[in-house]
Structure formats: C-alpha cells, structure tokens
C-alpha cells in the first residue's frame, strides 16, 4: 500500500519520534510511505479554542496537501494522533461550511474518509495486530479521550500492544478519566489542568509500569511533563514508538 503520513503539527515540530516511528513501522510492514511536504496542521487547536473562522486557511492547506489521495496518489492517510484524525473527520467540513466554502467542506469530507488513526489503519485497513515488535518493558496504556470517544478505537491499541514480544501490559486505574490536557485548556485553566494531571500521574505511578503509552503525543506531553517533574522515572512512548521497536532497532526514547 502507498500510505501518506500526516505527522500533525505538534509531532512534526516537537515530537518527531512518533512520526519517524510511524514511517519505520509501516515500511517494515512492506508499505511505501510518503511524507507530503505541504502538510502542517488540521486546524483543531484553533477550532477548539474558538477561532474557527481563523482556522479556514489551516484547513484549506491540510485538505489541499492530502487531496491527491482522491486521485489515487496514496491508498490511505495515517496520523499518529486520535484527536487530529477526529478533527479531520468531525470538524473540518463543518467549519468550512460555516465559513461559506462548500467545496472545501466537500473535499475535506472525502479526504477525511481516507484518513486513519494509526491503530485503525493497522487493525482495520492492513489487518494486522502482530506487527513483529519487541519491547521488553512494563507498559500502561492511557486511552486518550478523542481516540476513546470520538474515534471509538476501542481495544485496537491494546490488541496491538498485546502482540508485542516482551511487553507486559499493566491496567491503568480510572483509565478513561481525562488527563487534563485539553489543548489550550492547559493554559487557560492551568490550575484545574494541573490538578487533573496530578491524578493521572498518581494512577500511572500506581501501576508500577516503566513506560506510559497513548495514541496522542499531545496528551502524553502533559502526562510525561508531570511525571518528569515528579522525577517518577516513568517514561512516555507513543504507541507508534513501541510498535516500531524491534530487536534490531530497539526503542531509544528521545534519540532521533
């Protein structure tokens, strides 16, 4: 399959390791991977912060960059982020329509129909749960809110993790409780966000796992940031990083 990777703005700038892991994983599985140069952001941050009208240009750029999927240039688009995929599926077209651009809305819908979150692509489209990964660590999984409730990825990530050699999965208490990130919420309501992530960090530490994983680096930035501040010793890895890890190319955390 020819697969275009949408790194997302956050991963593309501050956490590229989730994008590089996605690329390496898909190539290992025998696919041709592309990283379209025009890509930037899906518009979610602006839309969710109340700047829908200002997000029009961002959405236009995203749709233009990935529209070639409609002409068969790629078979699918994948993003290592549940919330960005949810934004392309559930927000872009609405915002475009309200902004008076019906054509953009229509194309956005078509492009979104070819866009998948990583665990969806692997399990539903590529039909694999065992990706041949090796990750000799104890891991706990935080189901991020948008993966859980907007995309309904269900147990796909857990099934993928369950097939990883050497990985021991630890159940997370109050797993479905939000970590308190919420995009600009973390700044606009900093103290409430801090109280929420403190609870999440408590639950993660209680599992005794070495690594916390999730399908979104946005939530992980919040969680890992709080865990680092506590000197907890728990490290954060995106689901893609765990699945990309093998005996030959083991996970190296922050190294790129």
């Amino acid at each position: 399959m020819r697969i275009a990777v949408f790194a997302t703005c956050l991963v593309g700038t501050v956490m590229p390791r989730a994008a590089t892991a996605t690329v390496r994983l898909l190539e290992r599985l025998g696919h041709t991977v592309d990283l379209p140069a025009g890509q930037a952001c899906c518009g979610q941050m602006h839309v969710n912060t109340g700047y829908g009208p200002e997000a029009m240009g961002v959405i236009r750029n995203h749709v233009r960059t990935f529209a070639p999927v409609l002409d068969g240039r790629w078979d699918a688009i994948v993003a290592p982020s549940g919330s960005c995929v949810a934004s392309t599926r559930h927000q872009q077209a609405d915002v475009a329509r309200r902004g008076g651009d019906g054509r953009l809305a229509h194309t956005a819908e078509q492009v979104a129909a070819h866009t998948y979150e990583l665990s969806e692509l692997l399990v539903d489209v590529l039909g694999v749960t065992d990706v041949g990964a090796w990750f000799p660590h104890t891991v706990t999984y935080h189901p991020t809110c948008h993966s859980l409730r907007l995309l309904r990825v269900g147990d796909r990530p857990v099934r993928l993790l369950g097939a990883v050699e050497g990985l021991e999965l630890r159940d997370l208490g109050e797993a479905e409780q939000c970590c308190g990130f919420g995009g600009t919420f973390a700044l606009k309501n900093a103290e409430t966000s801090a109280a929420m992530v403190a609870d999440k960090a408590d639950e993660i530490q209680a599992t005794g796992a070495e690594v916390v994983t999730a399908g979104d680096w946005s939530c992980l930035l919040n969680i890992a940031g709080a865990l680092d501040r506590r000197r907890s010793g728990v490290r954060a890895a995106h689901l893609a990083e765990i699945l990309a890890s093998t005996r030959d190319e083991p996970w190296q955390g922050a190294a790129l």
């Binding site: 809110c145 900093a190 940031g225």
Partner: protein, 502 residues
C-alpha cells in the same frame, strides 16, 4: 422564651452573598483557583460523584434498549424545539380547561412578580417549596423575601443550602460541597428548632430535618414547585423526587404555583414512558424514583384548589434561535454530566458561578445570558464568557447524557461566540497570537521552519527536559516539564532518508 443560638460559625459557600443566580462569581479560572484549594471539598466531590457515576453505569447497563431510549429522548426533544410555540399554546389551553391558570413570564422579574402577587393574594407569609432549578434561576426566594414572604425549601439538601446562605453546587445534590459535620453545625445554628445535642449521625440529622419540615408542610397555605415535564396534549404537569417532600407540597396546601421553563413541555402523555426511564437512571442511578406526582389542573376535594402555571422564558427563546446552541434546551436536569465531568470533579460547582454548574451549565448559562450578543457578556476573561472554556472537551458528558446533547460541540461553538461577539471588539494579545499561529500552521514551509527552530533549542538543551519557560509557557512549566526537544527536526530526518515529496 427565646434562646440565643450564638453567631453562625459555618461559612457560606461562596463567601460573598450571591447576587445574580446565573452570574455571581469571578471568571471560571479565578473561581477555580479558590475552590481547588479546598481539599475537603475535593475529597467530598470525588467520593460523591464516583458513587453516583458507578450507580448510574450499573442501572443503565442493565437495560437492553438504553441506547434506543436515549435516541428516543433526543428525538422527542428535537421535535419539541421545532414546534415549541404550538405545544405551549396547546399546554395552556389544556391547563386552563382543567381549572388551572397559566401565566407567561418573559424574564426573571416578570416571573417573580407573578408569583409574589399570587402568594400575596392568598394571604400567605410563608410558602413551602419543592426543589426547583427554574426558581433558583430567577432568584425567587430573594424576591419573595423582599416582599416579606418566607420561602422554605423542603428538599433536604436544598434546605441545607438555604439555611447556610449558600448557593447550590450541583443540580441534583445541591449540598454536595458540605459534609455531615458542617450540616450538623448548620442545623444547630440556623434551623431555629433543632433538637438539643444534635450529633452528625445521618439518621439524627434527617430526623431533625423531618420534624422541622413537617411543621411547615402542615401549616402551609401555598406551595411553589418547578416541573420536570408538562404534557401539552393533556395539560398534565409532573414532578419526580426522592424524599416525599414534593408530594407533601403538591397535595397539602390550598394554592399551588408551578414555575416551569418553556422547554420542559412534551407533546403527548406516552412521551413520559421515555423520560420516566431516562431521568431516574441518569440522575440518582435508581431504576425508578420514589415519588412521581402528576396533576392536571385542579380536582375539587383533592389537592390544591387553586393552580397556577408560570411559563418562563428568561433567555430560552434566545438559545432556541441558535441552531448550534439549541440542544442545551434538551436538558432534563439529571446532572449525569456533572458526575462524569473531570473538571467538575476537581473544581466543584461553585467555580461556575451559576445555579447551573458543570458541563451543561457551561453551555446553558452563557446562552441564557446572551453570550456574544450586542451588549451581552463575551471574552475568555468574563465570568460568563469563560464558562465555555471550562472543559477539556473530553466528551464524557456527551457519552453520559440521556438525551445525547453534544455538549463538546456546543462548547466549541460558544467559545467562538465568546471570542467573536456581535459588533466585534479590539483584538486581544491572544487573538493576535492565534492569528499569527494560523499563518504558520497553514504553511508546510513555515511549520518546517518551526521544527528546525525546535531542533535548535533541542540541541542547545541537549535534548533534556525543560523545567522553566517564561509566561505564558510558565502556565505549563509550573507543574510540568517540557519533555526534551528533538536534536534533529523531522524534515532533516526525512530529507536525509529520501527527500520530501511534492
């Protein structure tokens, strides 16, 4: 002989006497700054919300058709909103035909004036009240007090809040912010007829309240209630409750006044089958609520001989006019969204500064007050304008809502209303920053440049976590590190690997 009871020692929550029931405090972040420090409050809330949440999960999971019930509830509500005027006139005709009197109130002042006049005409100085959000919303008790009429709340938790001089902090359990030691103190100092040596044993507290309230039920001439539902087709009004206080109020006094938000009307009697299943299971986590009272106008020799129905707008038609905000009017006040909300669980209800707290309050209050309208509140720092931002958009509320109100989408819409008021406003620093960010995020080239800059910082910091950033980054770094930045940008990695595709 009167006994000196001492000065009250229990602080009201919030500390300042509440003014406007929909807007009494500072902005949400400022209010949360206070409430988050109250460890006792957080512990109470955590236990209480999790208990109700688990109960609700159990009793909704046992119904095979729960999802269909939710769909039915949502569909009925959408239908009601689509033809509200005709349903309301139908309701008026049927209530009137059965001997009731219908009053229309555009706002809180009109509703309060109507009710005060009815009580005056009945010659009463004291009225008993069934717990009602609508009368909280209009500040009816204060309005009656100003007319020399004592309104006695008879729901136990509502009475606690009233005696303490508080505002409610939860729709269903308004005294959720109080523990039993505080309640014992409130009763002892404020009730007036509390037994001597009252302990903080729940049973003793309940018995004291029972004796206190029973005396008032028996002497009341007038009762005031809200309504959970009213049936247009028959003119029937319904109240569901758990304590039996409602049944007392609705049957014993001579005069009954019901204040009802116009959105509470339902088309037909059979619609009740949907809501009488959805409401108790979502609200208290019970299969069926202990008391369901329904009445149609007046019945000679049975119950009140005079019935008044006050139909309240108070901003509801304003919300109705907003296609994206309208679903807030579907709310049946079950409070399931409060109990699952992680923000509410941490800040408590008072942080919302409105009688409607939690996720539903964050979309209802701003609309009732005309957020973003000419002359209305707006802006992320305004008490009302900040409410739509008091959410991480985690979606737990939408998932729990028995009538499937898409609260996250409504929040996003209202954030936009808050930041883009009619008539515009001079851009704030945040506005300018977001416009600038949109430029970068709309360009692959500029974003690659940002990635390159991040990698520069990554190399300078050796890829180690960053512990401190200047404002506004300090809002982040006060409690979190910034995990180490990459030493090499994604674009550099990709270019070396195979080159960007065009």
């Amino acid at each position: 002989m009167s006994t000196f009871l001492g000065m009250p020692t229990v602080r009201p929550h919030p500390a300042d006497p509440p003014g406007a029931p929909l807007r009494w405090g500072p902005s949400f972040p400022e209010a949360a700054h206070q409430t988050l420090r109250d460890e006792q409050l957080r512990a109470n809330l955590r236990t209480a919300t999790r208990t109700i949440r688990d109960k609700r999960r159990r009793v909704t999971a046992e119904l095979g058709d729960w999802e269909q019930l939710r769909d039915a509830g949502a569909a009925i509500k959408a239908d009601v909103m689509a033809r509200l005027p005709e349903l309301l006139t139908e309701l008026e005709a049927n209530v009137t035909a059965h001997g009731g009197v219908v009053h229309w109130a555009r706002d809180a002042a009109e509703a309060n004036a109507v009710v005060t006049e009815i009580v005056r005409a009945a010659g009463a100085r004291e009225v008993v009240k069934v717990k009602s959000m609508a009368t909280q919303e209009i500040g009816l008790n204060d309005a009656l007090a100003a007319a020399g009429i004592d309104a006695v709340e008879t729901d136990l938790a509502e009475r606690i809040v009233q005696l303490a001089g508080d505002m409610p902090s939860h729709i269903l359990v308004p005294a959720i912010h109080r523990n039993r030691a505080e309640i014992q103190e409130i009763f002892t100092h404020r009730m007036g007829d509390a037994p001597a040596g009252l302990s903080d044993e729940p049973r003793e507290l309940a018995m004291a309240a029972r004796a206190h309230l029973r005396a008032r039920f028996l002497r009341a001439e007038v009762a005031i209630s809200g309504a959970n539902m009213a049936i247009a087709e028959t003119g029937t009004v319904a109240v569901v409750e758990s304590e039996g206080n409602g049944r007392m109020c609705l049957t014993l006094p001579r005069v009954l006044v019901t204040v009802m938000g116009i959105e509470k009307v339902l088309p037909t009697f059979t619609d009740l089958e949907v809501f009488l299943q959805l409401l108790p299971r979502s609200s208290t986590g019970e299969r069926m609520n202990p008391y369901t009272s329904m009445w149609t106008g007046v019945t000679p020799g049975d119950g009140p001989s005079e019935f008044h129905l006050v139909l309240l707008d108070n901003g509801r038609t304003r919300a109705l006019a907003d296609e994206l905000g309208r679903p807030a009017l579907h709310c049946i006040r079950c409070s399931a969204c409060l109990n699952v909300c992680p923000v509410y669980e941490h800040t408590g209800g008072h942080a919302y500064g409105s009688v409607y707290p939690g996720p539903i309050g964050a979309i209802l209050t701003p609309q009732l007050l005309g957020l973003g309208e000419e002359g209305g509140p707006f802006g992320a720092h305004d008490p009302t304008g900040s409410l739509p931002f008091a959410s991480t958009l985690c979606g737990a509320c939408y998932e729990a809502c028995p009538v499937k109100i898409d609260i996250p989408s409504a929040l996003v819409h209202l954030r936009e209303r808050s930041l883009h008021p009619d008539g515009g406003h001079p851009p704030t620093a945040t506005d300018l920053a977001m416009v600038g960010a949109a430029r970068v995020l709309a360009s692959g080239r500029l974003l690659r440049l940002a990635g390159w800059a991040a990698a520069l910082v990554g190399r300078a910091t050796g890829g180690r976590p960053i512990h401190w950033l200047p404002w506004p980054g300090s809002l982040w770094t006060r409690v979190r590190d910034v995990p180490g930045l990459p030493r090499r940008s994604l674009s550099a990695w990709w270019r070396d690997r195979q080159g960007w595709s065009r």
